[in-house]
């Protein structure tokens, strides 16, 4: 069964894309991640123009984050004040990111930058996660209790001006670092078609020392609003949001996520992180390969975007 996508302007097999949404949804449910970092590359590899993949994936992340954010909210795991500061940064980052996408498309370097961003961030995060989880697994095998890194005392991020009290997180820190983190994640999200949880969560834990029980809820809170805004901005600035494609991915994704979550409960946290790290590195290597391998054709053609080349 084929469907002609109105924005991507191509006829796609509905079953294939529902299946893709389902498979990525399964993995994201299992690992408790948004799945944008898997979906966007997968869409690009399957022939969807990179810009449409990024714009459309933003919409799908809204869908997959909403239910999680509400569940966290009801458990009082959202630091609204921290979330609002992150969100304020995210709005700025998202606006800049979407403009950047526009500019890069005009000069014909968007695909390259998407690949570069993916290789860089997936490489760093995947390697760190792999090391951390491998260490934990080894220690638990040896019978030692897995040592959780204690939040340290004061580091440089605590010495900045504009201090604010974040009651829910039990923190009294400058508003600049969370604003900057939110902005950075919003920017990357707009370019890479991801929610950015995989960067925001470690940054909140290790840089801001936010208690782990509010980290996920607060980051989901920010992601829902920022990816929502990113979707609207991609729709207005780049016209690259395909609502039909987004719906296919959403339907597949939300169903897959339910089964993934059940599967995920059967594995230990460090095992999950080890597998996730492997998956992240696999995607990273695949994209890196497409950048260094000789292309099948050195030439490419595309429509002219914007007034200038």
């Amino acid at each position: 069964m084929n469907f002609y996508l109105p924005i991507a302007e191509m006829s796609v097999n509905v079953v294939v894309f529902l299946g893709m949404g389902g498979a990525v949804g399964f993995l994201s449910g299992m690992f408790g991640v948004g799945g944008g970092f898997l979906m966007t590359p997968l869409l690009i590899f399957s022939g969807i123009p990179a810009a449409v993949a990024v714009g459309t994936e933003a919409a799908q992340i809204v869908a997959s984050s909403v239910s999680g954010a509400i569940a966290q909210w009801r458990r009082n795991n959202v630091d609204v004040k921290m979330g609002t500061v992150l969100l304020a940064g995210g709005v700025v980052g998202s606006v800049l990111g979407v403009e950047m996408v526009k500019l890069l498309r005009q000069i014909g370097q968007f695909d390259f930058f998407v690949s570069l961003a993916y290789v860089t961030f997936l490489g760093i995060i995947g390697a760190l996660m792999l090391m951390e989880s491998a260490n934990t697994i080894r220690k638990t095998r040896q019978g030692k209790p897995a040592s959780v890194r204690r939040p340290g005392q004061h580091i440089w991020v605590h010495k900045m001006p504009l201090k604010m009290r974040f009651h829910r997180s039990k923190l009294y820190i400058s508003a600049i670092p969370p604003f900057a983190i939110g902005g950075f994640v919003g920017f990357l999200g707009a370019i890479m078609g991801v929610g950015g949880g995989f960067i925001m969560v470690p940054a909140m834990i290790y840089l801001l020392r936010v208690p782990t029980n509010v980290v996920v809820g607060t980051s989901l809170f920010q992601i829902v609003f920022v990816t929502g805004l990113t979707t609207i901005l991609h729709a207005t600035q780049n016209k690259t949001v395909d609502v039909v494609l987004a719906m296919l991915l959403m339907v597949g994704g939300v169903i897959g996520a339910q089964f993934g979550a059940v599967a995920g409960q059967k594995l230990k946290g460090e095992q999950l992180r080890f597998l996730l790290a492997g998956l992240v590195l696999l995607v990273c290597v695949r994209i890196a390969w497409s950048m260094v391998a000789a292309p099948a054709d050195e030439y490419s053609i595309s429509d002219v975007v914007g007034g200038r080349r």
Partner: protein, 313 residues
Amino acid sequence: MSLNWRVLRGILGAVVMVAAMAMMIGIEIAEAQRRQRSAQPGPARDGAGSPAAPVEQIQRTQPPQPVPAAAVPRETVQADVSSRSVAVTSSFTGTEIVVFGAVDHSRQPTAEAGLYDIVIVLEGTPTRLVARRKSNVAGIWINTHSITFESVPSYYTILSTRPLDEVTNPLVLRENDIGFDYVRMTPIQGWETGVTTADLQEFAEAVVRLKQRDGLFVQEEYGVVFIGRSLFRASVNLPANVPVGPLDVRVYLFRDGNILSTYTARVRLEREGLELLLHNFAFNRPLLYGLFTVTIAVGAGLAASAAFRRNAR
């Protein structure tokens, strides 16, 4: 309290999703009905858009005309297409159109005589296009060179009774923009990066090659056949990725390498139904379209969480 909220949320999400789906399905049904209606041939239909009218027109010219003894009349060609408008709907997966026509005052004794050659060119709207070339910079393949062409046909198909170089000479082909070598491609001065005019030919060839790979530039050297001493036909498979817009159909009648007569027709490729609606929505009301998409996403998320009653992490 919490249960109520969950139920309410589920209902809300479901309502949004159902409303969106119902709207789309409604449009699809309405469109299907309309298509069905328009497919029924009726005398009330105006001749311009209906496929019935041109057939009659051709048939009138088909019987061999009595040749007046005094002056031998010049051969002329008349032609048309099987469907003058093609609807690009959400179920569009490409379509076949037939170009058919007749040679008036044909002097060839049989269909196989080969006295005449027919060349048919289908050309889409000229569009701006940028061609880029990658090169290896420090181990990474990156776009380094580009040329922007002012106008390249979005679609270009040539069908002929035999290879073009047997039909006529390059001069005639060039004059009439027939063949991949003579497709009009004008680069925009000052819009190139890292390219000299020497590379222009290579870029132009790359454009043709890539368009051919996408099935948008097609050449069939024996694509036109005579099925009578004057009647000929050719079929064209428009792929699913054919750009929306008018296609100009040019039919050339050749004898001994000279053009005796030409005829032009037009096929309109237009978005219809849901396809048209969503495309216009996205391009004319981008802000509303963005909000609409986000609303659907939120609705889907709420509906899913309520349906599965799972408390996500």
